[in-house]
């Protein structure tokens, strides 16, 4: 199967007067599992649809392999798309749905039949070939929609929120299955989602979009550990942002907040006036010591493996996660506590 990379160059797109994509540049490598992550209205689905050839014609270039597809009709692109609603045709059996693309390509019947069986085996639903789509469960419909798309061996597989119509348990199972299939077929795949956990668990790399602009591109871990801006820091996981400035005193570097509290900074990434602290990198203690700052417990939530505290400190409301240990006593609301931040590798923005 031909693996193609995708190159998106300076793509602008508007719906009437509303600008939805404002200059997108992106390169997706052949065989990569890539995620578009962003809140609703960020332009992620629009970008996906532009690659597939749906919606208004964008300005700029979209290269699939070597070919610029902007202005090409969807049917001349060899791009496979799985829709959020699955879009299985209700008047055709599962077999006819899956065989559709082959028929459009005038594949000889015998050959088509064999490929339909193969692909149905691949998704594990060969026994449902004669069913109608409305007789399938959500997960089964999802797999058939996938089978219908991959059977035509597209250069690129596009998945538009493919898991959003499934219930929670099935979602986890399906995303593993998706990943397994993608690895097996080696298809260049783009996955659109607003769920960071989905993007984190499946993708090799991802792009975070907001306001029609790509905020950052990288592996899930890179994006979490080294967010390029406050939006990415906040969108991926929970982030505590403290305003202040860096002070250097000989060998020692410190971050002094606007309220005058100080944090030691053994090593930092980036520069700026905000420090990003993840909830699990802060500990709460009863007594004051060097590099701690004082706060008051506002609220407490028991999450099972962790206890999440909301603490007012350093001029902000700080989220702190503590591992839950049985028999360990909790900090009560209103208690005065001292926070110590583990700032190794902290990000300044």
């Amino acid at each position: 199967m031909a693996k193609a990379g995708i190159k998106i160059e300076n793509v602008h797109l508007s719906f009437g007067k509303t600008k939805v994509l404002k200059g997108v540049d992106l390169e997706i490598r052949p065989g990569e599992f890539f995620a578009f992550l962003g809140p609703s209205g960020s332009g992620k689905s629009t970008l996906l649809r532009a690659i597939a050839g749906f919606g208004p014609t964008p300005k700029g270039r979209i290269l699939i392999g070597e070919r610029d597809v902007v202005g090409l009709n969807p049917w001349s692109r060899n791009v496979g798309m799985v829709f959020q609603s699955y879009a299985l045709w209700p008047h055709m059996s599962v077999r006819d749905n899956v065989a559709f693309g082959l028929r459009e390509r005038r594949v000889p019947t015998a050959d088509a039949k064999r490929r339909v069986s193969e692909v149905l085996d691949l998704v594990g639903l060969a026994h449902l070939a004669e069913r109608m789509p409305n007789q399938l469960s959500g997960g089964q419909q999802q797999r058939i929609a996938l089978a219908r798309t991959i059977i035509v061996e597209p250069e690129v597989l596009l998945l538009d929120e493919p898991l959003s119509n499934l219930d929670a348990g099935l979602r986890v199972q399906m995303r593993r299955e998706l990943l397994r299939l993608q690895r097996q077929l080696g298809l260049t795949t783009i996955f659109v989602t607003h769920d960071q956990e989905e993007a984190n668990t499946t993708s090799d790399r991802m792009a975070v979009l907001d306001g029609g602009v790509i905020q950052q591109v990288g592996s899930p871990q890179e994006l979490y550990d080294r967010p390029a801006n406050l939006f990415v820091a906040n969108f991926l996981g929970t982030a505590n942002i403290l305003k202040g400035k860096v002070e250097i005193d000989g060998d020692e570097m410190r971050f002094v907040t606007e309220t005058g509290d100080t944090l030691g900074l053994p090593s930092v990434i980036g520069s700026g006036t905000n420090v990003v602290l993840r909830p699990q990198n802060i500990t709460i203690q009863q007594t004051e010591s060097k590099d701690t700052f004082q706060g008051e417990i506002l609220h407490r939530e028991f999450l099972g493996s962790q206890i999440r505290y909301l603490v007012r400190a350093a001029g902000a409301e700080i989220v702190v996660d503590q591992s839950h240990v049985p028999e360990h006593s909790w900090f009560e609301n209103g208690a005065t506590v001292h926070l110590r931040a583990n700032t190794t590798g902290a990000v300044l923005l």
Binding site: G80, F83, S85, H91
Partner: protein, 580 residues
């Protein structure tokens, strides 16, 4: 509680069971039984009677197939049968030719004329077809506007209105909106991803339409086409006014009105009409079964519309304007006729006057009064019974409740002529209490016939309205201590008001112009409603102007009704949305 229920909880439970179940169900049971009796007496008995008589020897009363043998042995009846079939089938074809481009253009393109189509396209329905028939003669007839112009300038004439052609033209112009409405709705209900999925798999253009779009729209088309077929097959007024008597419904009417209610041929024809109605409903049911193709998803917006290129736009406007002109020709003709002095052998009337309206007003006050009275009674009863049936079917577990729905809906399959004949036969021997009058010729029976004829529509409106009232709203009232009866009064009915009103208005407006059943039942001109009045006026050339004026009144009545019900439905929808 499952282990050892104490005495107290046990008896409390029993008390609650008694309090809630028994009174709640018993009241509704009574209502259900009353409605069942009413439907039985006014629908089942008359129709069964008609079928019975068709299989009876008129002299001895013994069961026989002789009547059917006689029917098919008579060449006039065989001809009428084929004519009815041919006219219905051709009307479906012509109506499709009119509706398909309109539906396609409005749903597929960003076309500014769509609003024009959506509003003007439904105008035919607000005019009873027989009203337009006379006006159509004047425009499309052998000596009508179009043919006079063609003869003068091109030297040809086209027999648009000759014989069966006339019926086909009038009926398809009148009934094509059924196909347009249903087809547009199914086209709109196709989610755009259905099409996009096919496109990204390599399908486009005509193949895409043929393999994906049309099959998905098929159920809507079949529903509309079946409806057109039945309506045309059953219609009495149009052929009668166009003086085409060699069709089934006119034959039934003529046999009964000229030979009398003992002549078996009218009943045989009724049987055939009923069988065909049921067959076409059944056929459309078979096609529709298991095919709810409404695929629009949350946030999906129907099919992707695209902009038209300038040349395409011109073409689209051309097609739409041409079709709309044809479709509106009965209205234009009727308007001209109503204001015209003399209109004969001329493209347009000789002069214009309001004389016709004055004559009409003089001659038809009773008609108008009767219409308001009959249609008012019919529509009021329709929504009351409709609401009750809807509630019983959707919200209770009363045994056999579905049958109330089936029974009321079955009226759809009973042609007006058949119901009329059935009433004549069943009630002619029954006297109205305290009078010497027969029930069959009492004016109330006309209102009741209209009520039965419109009940299926009112029932649909009420059912739809009730389905939109969430059960939780009722449960909330009940958990706050309201009894079933109070809940229905204070919560359910007020929330259904919009739907009920819409049902009332539609029933009223369409009952006001019904002719098929009433023409059989009107025993004196004093009891006649508006539609019958138009029919009377149109019988003489000198009365045509006044008849047209009365026709305009009918159109206005129905138009106001339709617009009102639309406004009510829209307002209601907004109210419900804001409540979410």
């Amino acid at each position: 509680m499952t282990t050892t229920p104490s005495h107290e909880t046990g008896s409390a439970l029993a008390g609650r069971l008694q309090n809630t179940f028994i009174p709640r169900l018993s009241n509704l049971h009574v209502v259900a039984v009353l409605i069942a009796l009413l439907l039985f007496g006014l629908l089942v008995v008359p129709v069964t009677q008609v079928i019975f008589v068709a299989f009876q020897d008129p002299a001895t009363g013994a069961a026989t197939l002789q009547n059917f043998a006689d029917f098919f042995a008579t060449s006039l009846f065989r001809e009428s049968f084929w004519n009815s079939f041919y006219v219905s089938a051709m009307s479906v074809v012509v109506a499709t030719v009119i509706a398909l481009p309109l539906a396609y253009i409005t749903t597929r393109f960003n076309f500014s004329g769509s609003i024009l189509i959506q509003s003007l396209g439904f105008i035919p329905l607000i005019m009873p077809p027989f009203v337009g028939a006379v006006a159509m003669q004047l425009i499309f007839g052998r000596n009508g506007t179009i043919n006079l112009l063609l003869r003068d300038h091109v030297g040809i004439s086209i027999p648009f209105m000759d014989g069966l052609n006339g019926v086909i033209l009038v009926q398809s112009i009148h009934y094509f909106p059924f196909i347009l409405i249903n087809l547009s709705a199914s086209l709109r209900n196709i989610d755009r991803s259905m099409e996009e999925a096919a496109q990204s798999l390599g399908s486009y253009g005509l193949r895409l339409f043929q393999r994906i779009v049309f099959p998905l729209a098929m159920p809507g088309y079949i529903a509309g086409a079946a409806l057109v077929f039945i309506k045309v097959f059953d219609d009495l007024g149009t052929p009668l006014l166009l003086n085409v008597n060699n069709m089934l419904a006119p034959q039934a009417f003529l046999r009964i009105s000229s030979i009398g209610i003992s002549d078996p041929m009218g009943y045989v024809i009724s049987c055939i009409l009923v069988v065909f109605s049921i067959l076409s409903l059944w056929a459309s049911f078979l096609v529709m079964r298991g095919k709810d193709y409404a695929t629009v998803q949350k946030g999906g917006g129907g099919m992707a519309k695209r902009d038209l290129k300038p040349a395409e736009k011109t073409l689209a406007y051309g097609v739409v304007i041409f079709i709309l002109l044809v479709v509106l020709s009965p209205h234009i003709g009727l308007l001209l006729l109503s204001f015209g002095t003399i209109w004969s052998f001329a493209p347009l009337p000789d002069g214009y006057t309001v004389e016709n309206y004055l004559t009409m007003w003089e001659g038809s006050k009773t008609f108008i009064f009767n219409t308001v009275l009959y249609a008012g009674i019919a529509a009021t009863l329709d929504v009351i019974i409709g609401t009750a049936i809807a509630y019983i079917v959707i919200r209770t577990g009363i045994v056999g409740r579905k049958w109330l729905d089936y029974l009321a809906t079955a009226a759809l399959a009973v042609p007006g002529v058949v119901l009329g004949i059935g009433y004549l036969r069943t009630f002619h021997g029954v006297d109205v209490p305290f009078t010497d009058e027969s029930l069959a010729s009492w004016w109330v029976i006309i209102a009741l016939a209209l009520m039965i004829r419109r009940l299926p529509y009112a029932l649909r409106a009420c059912t739809a309205a009730l389905q939109q009232v969430s059960l939780a709203l009722e449960e909330a009232a009940e958990s706050l201590g309201a009894t079933k009866r109070r809940t229905i009064q204070k919560i359910v009915v007020p929330l259904m008001t919009g739907g009920i009103l819409a049902g009332f208005v539609t029933s009223f407006a369409t009952a006001a112009v019904e002719l098929s059943a009433t023409i059989m039942l009107v025993s004196s001109n004093n009891d006649a409603p508006l539609a019958y009045g138009i029919y009377l006026f149109m019988q003489t050339p000198s009365g045509r102007g006044a008849g047209a004026a009365l026709g305009i009144v009918a159109v206005i009545v129905v138009a106001i009704g339709t617009v009102a019900s639309q406004i009510i439905i829209e307002r209601d929808k907004k109210l419900k949305e804001s409540g979410d």
